[in-house]
């Protein structure tokens, strides 16, 4: 099941359903309708035994996220999106399967690793405390495109040409081949 969001095309081959959760089109059956009040993750994918909440962020200047303030802001955005999406789905009575939160970010591996830790700290995973009877998220993972394809080979993602982010220079640089000489040095 192919679905496109934010310049990326995902193929969830074993999905029962997949749709843009942050749908702005009023005529769509999955129109969100509460964007003014609630944040929303980009995609929701229903698998046989799980739901995936998928958030995609393609940055023009990923290096800015080395800065602590930007990094913390990004974490807060990812956290808020998950919480609001969970509440929305709870109200829909669509939290009947464990939920996994996947964030596809165009950051380098070191920042991805750091954000993984942050997200797990800020969105408690599983039965986080004895008083809880159920989890709000089964687990979460932050990945870049390369790590996504490596870890989820049956849900391949690729950059879609002709997106507004194509010239950000970030991922295309990561993927670029070797340059043989020291041109420009």
């Amino acid at each position: 099941m192919k679905i496109e969001v934010d310049g990326f095309e995902f193929d969830f081959q074993n999905a029962v359903d997949a749709f843009v959760f942050d749908e702005k089109e009023r005529s769509s059956p999955t129109y969100h309708g509460l964007s003014h009040a609630m944040k929303a993750v980009d995609l929701i994918v229903e698998l046989e035994n799980d739901y995936l909440f998928v958030e995609v962020k393609d940055f023009h200047a990923p290096d800015e996220y080395q800065d602590g303030n930007c990094f913390n802001h990004l974490r807060e955005v990812l956290k808020q999106k998950y919480r609001d999406s969970f509440l929305y789905r709870w109200a829909e009575k669509k939290t009947d399967k464990p939920i996994r939160y996947l964030c596809l970010l165009t950051l380098d591996n070191a920042l991805v690793s750091r954000m993984n830790k942050e997200i797990r700290l800020h969105i408690p995973t599983g039965i986080a405390i004895e008083r809880w009877q159920r989890a709000i998220v089964k687990n979460s993972a932050v990945l870049n495109e390369e790590r996504w394809n490596r870890n989820f080979p049956r849900w391949p993602v690729r950059r879609v040409a002709d997106t507004k982010f194509q010239h950000s220079g970030w991922k295309e640089n990561l993927d670029s081949g070797r340059r043989e000489d020291g041109t420009g040095i």
């Binding site: 049956r154 043989e180 020291g182 041109t183 040095i185």
Partner: protein, 347 residues
């Protein structure tokens, strides 16, 4: 300044053509890919012909051979530095302007053969090599030990001690050096002083203590401090600065300051060569560099046949292969496998 280096059958390199930046050159790569070797070779070439040596009326073949022996410490003949499948090795380098040097090593000779030393004898910019292990703590007695005993510690350590021993310049430092000295002093929260052949650390607050008792990270800044104070690093005047693994024992929190200082040195006309394994150092270069900074990232790696090759780029994002980022990739993969259980890799 070193403009380029070409190697044929030198140590692990079958062939290499490296164009150097006039600013900062950063060597990266896994272990045993020749980063330190490249730094040492370029240091040997640019330091062999310092004026003191030239005055001894040695020819370029002898002084080069002595320096290569001192820096690489090969057992037996210098021809050991040839690639193990070759009987002869050729090294060619272009220095500032019209100065060039081309020499060969042969497995059966104990001296290099100079084929071209165009104006090489006139090259008088003295480089400095900062070793991975700092030498302020080991300074007392090290030079005597090195001169009097057969030890396998290479000559870069001895040369560094010699450079550190030079007294401070009498003249007030120029604006750039003065500013950099302020930054260094702030980073190491004090000053290192050479008193009766021993270094001491005088903190901004507190009492003076032996350098050995000060923080090792501070001592790394102390080396920079001394070399700036005594003019061995003088942007625009001195030869290249080589620094092998500047990150060793340095608190990552001080890395931004270190990179800022290196960038300012380079902007002032100092050519710099670094070898590093450190993400934080590399990332700070990426974040702090200006469009006009001439930074070359040189990646050394082994190809599928096990031969050493290199890529150079001036764009941090185009570093390929990037072993530092790959190391983080492995961590991320492990984290995801751990957290996602069966969904990862088996989905």
């Amino acid at each position: 300044m070193i403009e380029s280096v070409s190697l044929t059958n030198f140590t692990a390199f079958k062939s290499l053509d490296l164009k150097c930046s006039a600013g900062t050159n950063i060597f990266m790569g896994a272990n045993s890919t020749g980063k330190s070797l490249m730094l040492k070779l370029m240091y040997a070439i640019s330091s062999a012909n310092k004026p003191l040596e030239a005055k001894r009326n040695k020819d370029s073949a002898r002084i080069l051979s002595d320096k290569l022996n001192g820096v690489f410490k090969p057992e037996g003949k210098i021809g050991r530095l040839c690639h193990n499948e070759a009987e002869e090795s050729v090294v060619q380098t272009h220095l500032t302007g019209d100065m060039a040097l081309r020499f060969a090593l042969s497995t059966d000779l104990d001296e290099v053969v100079v084929m071209n030393d165009q104006n090489y004898l006139r090259y008088d910019r003295i480089p400095v090599f900062i070793t991975p292990k700092e030498m302020l703590a080991s300074f007392p007695g090290f030079s005597s030990l090195y001169l009097q005993r057969e030890i396998t510690i290479d000559e870069t350590y001895f040369d560094l001690c010699q450079a550190l021993e030079l007294p401070k310049l009498r003249d007030k430092p120029d604006n750039l050096v003065g500013h950099l000295l302020d930054s260094v002093k702030q980073a190491c929260e004090g000053e290192f002083l050479l008193i009766r052949q021993r270094f001491y650390y005088k903190p901004d607050k507190g009492t003076m203590l032996e350098a050995e008792l000060s923080a090792e990270g501070f001592r790394k800044f102390g080396i920079l401090q001394r070399l700036l104070q005594n003019g061995r690093i003088k942007p625009g005047m001195s030869g290249p600065l080589f620094w092998d693994e500047p990150e060793t024992n340095l608190n990552p929190g001080l890395m931004k300051t270190l990179v800022s200082i290196l960038l300012e040195l380079a902007r002032g006309g100092q050519q710099i060569f670094l070898a590093t394994h450190d993400y934080v150092l590399l990332k700070w270069f990426d974040l702090l560099m200006q469009p006009d900074d001439r930074i070359a990232f040189h990646t050394l790696y082994r190809n599928d046949e096990g031969l050493l090759e290199h890529n150079s780029t001036d764009d941090y994002l185009k570093i390929c292969p990037n072993v530092i980022d790959d190391a983080y990739a492995e961590l991320v993969d492990r984290e995801i496998a751990h957290s996602m259980g069966g969904l990862a890799n088996e989905n």
